[in-house]
């Protein structure tokens, strides 16, 4: 379990990036932090593995106060995948990049080998194993950053803007992976403003603005509140807007699968035009 208690964080520049955050994230939850750039999402994520420590209040990860725990200790529990994947890289090869953390955690070399091979294959990077990580494309770098964290299998996986620069197939893959990790009981926390992606995931959404949490609820509820979304520089998923624009058919606004919406529209049109078949 993760707990934020009255957390405030002020950067050395004086910018208050988190302001009175109270949160509880239970084991196995999927949470999306949403909000505009600068809302405090990344700062919050960096508090999960102790990269940043609260200026006021405290963060507890599995009962451990992050102020009294080293990043190395916390990293075993919380794997954080950065937005700028490249910041993480320094090895000569993609394979070595993934192996590094595992070796650091003291795994036997045969375990390291198996895990690295698995993680690279899972993220479709096995063919680049011997390449330099810096020569990968943007999307591939992102997948490598994820592979690194997946390889050591932490309990909590935090992803900072995981869909940026990813094509639709990679997003589907990421979605599958997140669902698989959920089955394994992992806690997943992502920061994102990819509304369409989050809409498919249907997680708990925590909306942030100016370092504060301004809403916390199910995707099915939050995504219907256009005013609230706009206040955070977000837009509703297109499927929600479509249903809203079809209010003359008497459809209830809801976050649904395109297929369900198709059926509802057909039924509503049929009810209007009883003479057509």
């Amino acid at each position: 379990m993760i707990r934020f208690e009255e957390v405030e964080f002020v950067y050395p520049s004086g910018v208050k990036a988190l302001d009175g955050i109270n949160l509880e994230i239970r084991d196995g939850e999927i949470v999306a932090l949403m909000g505009e750039n600068g809302a405090g999402k990344t700062t919050l994520l960096k508090h999960l593995n102790g990269l940043l420590k609260p200026s006021k209040g405290r963060v507890l990860v599995d009962g451990l106060d992050t102020r009294e725990t080293t990043v190395a200790q916390l990293a075993r529990k919380v794997g954080l995948v950065f937005q700028n994947a490249e910041d993480m890289f320094f090895s000569n090869s993609v394979w070595e990049e993934v192996a590094f953390a595992l070796r650091n955690f003291g795994y036997d070399e045969h375990v390291v080998r198996r895990r690295v091979d698995w993680a690279l294959k899972f993220m479709e990077l096995d063919r680049y194993a011997d390449n330099s990580p810096f020569l990968l494309s943007g999307g591939e770098k992102k997948r490598l950053a994820l592979a690194i964290v997946l390889a050591w299998s932490p309990k909590v996986i935090a992803l900072d803007e995981p869909t940026t620069g990813q094509d639709q197939l990679q997003k589907e893959k990421l979605m599958e992976m997140i669902k698989l990790l959920r089955e394994q009981g992992k806690t997943i926390i992502i920061s994102s403003h990819d509304v369409e992606f989050v809409a498919q995931l249907k997680p708990r959404i925590i909306l942030m603005k100016n370092g504060r949490v301004i809403a916390d609820g199910k995707a099915e509820e939050i995504f219907l509140d256009e005013e609230l979304l706009r206040a955070c520089n977000l837009l509703p998923p297109q499927i929600v807007s479509l249903v809203k624009h079809l209010d003359f058919l008497g459809l209830e606004p809801a976050l649904k699968h395109p297929k369900e919406v198709a059926v509802e529209i057909l039924e509503a049109v049929k009810a209007r035009n009883p003479h057509t078949i």
Binding site: G35, D167, H245, N273
Partner: protein, 298 residues
């Protein structure tokens, strides 16, 4: 890999000259085994609004780099075929000349901005070209107004939001009055509302200034209603090229990593049911969708 022989130049008389003409283009980066572009042929007319889509790594960025001469003048590698931009062969034209015709906006605006204030950033490329002061000032006014960012002129680029930065980056390109604006996933780091604002600006540049736009982008729902062409690439080749509606109708783009707008998806499902509502033309926007429903229910 089959080498594409360079063909003797051939002239086609098909009305107005295309602003971009690519003939049998293949390219691979130095040190890379695989070709990033394989035998690409493409013509783009002035005023076209072209959306490039496809999986990441499919060659979109490489193609864009070929259009402003970064390839082969900056990135080394094996280059076959010809790229003619506004009548200039990119292999024989210095990049500073090409960049005045085809300006590129990148994913991350931070790489493009460096001056102390927005005005200075926008003025820089012109100063560099030795353009007289009064013309520079005139151009800055024009471009600030065009992108509706007059209020940003004295701000530091570093205190701007992502969307504002990207507009300033575009301004610093437009100030050179290019004929072609190349954009490589310009909204990828922006939040949805900022992305929408940026894309609306780009659409307006195409409509009002008849600027040729070539943009690679994953957010198709905002662009497709206005684009004149959708080009889908896969493994260095062009797989589909046509009006967005035609491409969406004939292809399942998911296999190429491209998400059709949700409205198109819903319309497809509806058509599959073969019921009382049928979309003869796949809608690209909510308004097209709603219009069709209204037509049917009378």
């Amino acid at each position: 890999m089959r080498r594409t022989p360079q063909r003797a130049s051939r002239r086609k008389d098909c009305g107005a000259n295309p602003i971009v003409k690519i003939e049998n283009l293949s390219f691979r980066y130095f040190g890379s085994e695989e070709y990033a572009l394989k035998d690409v042929n493409l013509e783009i007319r002035r005023g076209d609004f072209v959306v490039l889509a496809g999986r990441s790594g499919c060659g979109k960025t490489t193609l864009l780099r070929c259009l402003n001469g970064l390839i082969p003048n900056f990135y080394e590698g094996d280059f076959f075929g010809r790229v003619i931009v506004d009548g200039m062969d990119t292999r024989k034209t210095p990049t500073h000349l090409l960049s005045q015709v085809a300006g590129m906006v990148f994913q991350n605006p931070d790489n493009q901005l460096f001056a102390l204030n927005v005005e200075a950033d926008i003025a820089f490329p012109l100063e560099n070209l030795g353009v007289p002061r009064e013309i520079i000032l005139e151009r800055i006014e024009w471009v600030l107004k065009l992108l509706k960012i007059e209020d940003l002129r004295n701000r530091s680029p570093f205190e701007l939001s992502g969307g504002q930065k990207q507009k300033v980056a575009i301004a610093s390109i437009l100030v050179m009055k290019p004929k072609i604006l190349l954009l490589d996933e310009p909204t990828s780091s922006l939040d949805p509302l900022s992305a929408k604002g940026l894309i609306e600006s780009i659409i307006e540049l195409n409509r009002r200034e008849n600027l040729t736009i070539i943009i690679s982008e994953h957010r198709l729902e905002l662009l497709l209603p206005y684009a004149s062409r959708l080009i889908v690439m896969d493994q260095g080749r062009i797989i589909y090229d046509g009006h967005p509606r035609n491409v969406l109708e004939k292809a399942d783009l998911m296999a190429y990593g491209v998400a059709a707008p949700r409205v198109a998806e819903v319309a497809r499902y509806i058509n599959a049911y073969n019921g009382c509502l049928k979309f003869e033309r796949i809608p690209l926007s909510i308004s097209e969708f709603v219009e069709r429903v209204r037509e049917v229910i009378g």
